[in-house]
Subunit: 132 residues, 2 copies
């Protein structure tokens, strides 16, 4: 099974629940932006089985720690995650509360001129808020 390696790399054994989470997370063409509760709803619908919220949180956090998921900084009541773990930019539709990926070519190179003593840049991300 193709998700076993991701799980083992994340320090997790491949269990039925975790494989179901993987199917919802990674069996798709496009980037998936989600909150834990959206993910749980999709799991219930897609696999017709109930998984404990704790297992969803634990698995998502293990994947995030390993770099298979990333958190997106948004001021919302819920934390957003992203299956696109590359350094990339977003539209955030304020009305729909939905994230949309931006290609680097949609934004162009960003050159940070200021330097902070003893610190190095880990990531550079643009958030473009959209309204109607």
């Amino acid at each position: 099974m193709k998700y076993i390696e991701k799980l083992r790399n994340s320090g997790l054994r491949p269990t039925k629940q975790r494989l179901q989470i993987c199917e919802v997370l990674f069996d798709r063409d496009k980037t998936f932006h989600f909150t834990i509760n959206e993910l749980e709803r999709k799991i219930k619908k897609q696999t017709d089985s109930k998984i404990s919220l704790a297992t969803v949180y634990n698995t998502v956090h293990a994947f995030e720690k390993k770099g298979y998921l990333k958190q997106i900084p948004i001021n919302s009541s819920e934390t957003y995650f992203d299956t696109n773990v590359t350094d990339h930019h977003h539209f955030y539709d304020l009305k729909e509360e939905k994230l949309i990926d931006l290609e680097n070519s949609d934004v162009g190179p960003i050159n940070i001129l200021k330097k902070i003593n003893g610190k190095k840049i880990k990531s550079v991300e643009v958030l473009v808020k959209l309204e109607d």
Copy 2:
């Protein structure tokens, strides 16, 4: 007093507590990035008086609604606010959990090429995460 107008514009009467909040928020040269709890601590220290957390929350939210404060999107357990309400960019020091303003000239103009049907751009902000 110079803060009375800000308060009245925000639909708030100038009370002792609110003026104390204003002094901590706005009586400064540089941008102030803060969480509600940091703000409360500064109020206690600077004015040597105790203000109810509820009053701090209410006042900050009224100022944010009116545009005298803005929220900064950061994935942290606490919400960050900023006294610099212009469209601007940030460093975020992951170790110190501190925000630092970037001038527009430190980043240069950002041109968003992609368009979304029926939506217009409200803001474009860059977040640069820093590590050691």
